[in-house]
Symmetry: C3
Subunit: 276 residues, 3 copies
């Protein structure tokens, strides 16, 4: 999966021949607040109590502020507030539940589902077919590639990238009433088709290899792989394919869409004088 | 994944501000039979020969009674009958093929696909992005979480819970003309991202751990894990996170949405005087 | 997963009671070229610069020629050409990006997503929920079952079958700027829930067992399994469930939808006087 581009959201060509955003069959609740220069795609519905920041594009056939489960049995149900930040791009056929808070510069693929009480920081992206079950938090600059499944009560740090078919579990003894999600530290990479067990703590700057079944905590700066996942080495031991030496910590060698693009990670850390 | 709530389907607030069920763009075949107090969401299409029980809610953008493959090449094609039980809740964007039989108290997530000749018992739930390929049977009180893939000719017992990205295979020597699905016994739990091989029999009260690749039969009351899956222990050896002692058989410790809620499993068994 | 039928696309019964293809709410760009006897489902949108071959059926709620990412920030954006071959069947809710080239006799499941610069040969099929990230090539007679994820820059030969939740990776040191997809040889089978690592070469006539994590090249005519995947045996050692002897090379024992149906693979090879 090529990293999803954090699309800069410039004005859309109104005169072009592409027939998006023609204004057909859009439904918007009375209590929706829409920022400046927002565009809303055809057939999209925005339910009550949604607030949308400036310059955000919501493509066709989306559902924003989908009522939560209580709607179906509580006569007095009212939609909890939903925040969708500025300068964001929601691709078509997304379903975002009421009670979600998504910060600025968000990008999504198609057909994503984000359930209630999900909080995402700035500059996050969520790929096609992702399924975020809600009650979870994500820091800034997280990237979920396609078809990631995040169980409830997960906590994800900043600059965490999660690859296709990764799944975060939360019930240690299924079925039970325990809902204990994983916790992932800043800068960690969670590989494709990996499984992270309930309550597992993955430290900072880890590399969870594709196909890992992670049923023990992972120490910061370590690489794990296998089923069950075992520690292989420190991340600094993973060689680059693009240059001599190690690729990790990756922030020293990758900057596309990152806040240190142009100046480099060390300089950015110095400027921000802190961790993200 | 928090267990999906078996939503009690009470009347929907007609006066609320939520703009579901506004009656826009609904298409219903002439030979469709619709029960009392059924609600049908906007943009939903119900093809011919569908029977829907009382009090069922079908949300927006669903397709019920999708014609089977024969439709595309058989000029005389007629839709086989489709049954959708009472007191059910189909969330948005479901596709349910003609020739499916789903019993009462069914609940679904979003964007599910259920193909023809699928039979589901009472009180089943099917999560978002599930893909049931048809020609399969499920007992009562089965729960499929998100993104479960069920190959054709699978047989699933009662009270079986299946977790995200689990896949049931049916071709032992791909590609071939053999279609031999797995068989799963009552009360068994099939973990996330597990693979159950064609024709495998998982007994009753088993726990297939997340990430298991199950290529041998699993004896009742056993726990298996790994790739390939190996027997770890009896389920009674799995300790509870919520109390002293074992969590299994889980029916003694979990009752949300189960028929023994309130009275306990032993009493319920005594009352019903039989296995489910 | 039963092999998806390559549906012969006969004329649709216009007089039947099935209410597909009623012509409701179809949007078609000015520069779209549509072949003879093409049918387009309700609510489908076809963007500019799409060419569709004769006798092709595009079902309801599809998006064909979806603008690529550049659309969102390039005022001068124009849709690159999209080719969709003759005698094809696109099931409902597909999203096919502009810049895709799909040859004749294509069949899809529901809700597929195919991104730009994907090239598919003749007689390919792509199952429900597949996610092809683009910049990839497929030969003739490839079958992707449900929920296959193909990372960018993958190269797939002829007669390659890929099973549910298989994922092709392309970033050897995530995140990096390397995009090195796998390469799969003719006739190979890639099992369900398997992971093929970036740049891996799977030879011809291989069998990658379900659940394999393939991080080393696979020699032609070999079977691999496990995490990490190890070579088990030659494919000829895999016994048939349907008759005495080996099932492989499978072309000698399976012909549904294959060009050698009726005459047998050896005769077909003789007639075509070459490999496919």
């Amino acid at each position: 999966m090529r990293a999803q581009r954090h699309a800069p959201v410039f004005p859309i060509c109104e005169k072009g021949r592409i027939m998006k955003f023609t204004g057909k069959n859009i439904t918007i609740g009375k209590t929706v607040s829409i920022g400046k220069k927002v565009k809303i795609g055809d057939n999209t519905i925005i339910y009550d109590n949604v607030i949308i920041g400036d310059n955000t594009l919501i493509c066709n056939d989306c559902v924003i502020g989908e009522p939560t489960n209580s709607y179906y049995y509580d006569e007095g149900y009212q939609n909890p507030p939903t925040f969708l930040g500025a300068n964001s791009l929601i691709r078509s056929h997304a379903i975002i539940y009421a009670g979600t808070k998504i910060s600025d510069h968000f990008t999504s693929g198609h057909r994503i589902i984000i359930r209630e009480k999900t909080t995402m920081g700035r500059h996050c992206s969520v790929g096609t077919f992702c399924d975020i079950q809600g009650y979870s938090t994500f820091g800034n600059y997280c990237r979920l590639h396609s078809s990631v499944h995040i169980g409830q009560n997960s906590r994800v740090g900043n600059f965490v990238f999660i690859y296709p078919y990764a799944v975060f579990l939360n019930d240690p003894t299924p079925p039970s009433n325990s809902v204990i999600g994983p916790k992932i530290g800043d800068y960690s990479q969670v590989g494709a088709s990996s499984v992270v067990f309930p309550g597992i703590v993955v430290g900072e700057n880890c590399l969870v290899a594709a196909g890992s079944v992670v049923n023990k905590d992972v120490a910061s700066f370590s690489v794990v792989a296998g089923n069950p996942a075992r520690s292989l080495c420190r991340i600094e031991a993973v060689r680059s394919r693009e240059r001599d030496g190690s690729h990790y910590p990756w922030m020293l060698h990758y900057e596309k869409g990152m806040p240190w693009a142009g100046c480099g990670y060390p300089e950015w850390i110095k400027q921000t004088n802190s961790k993200p």
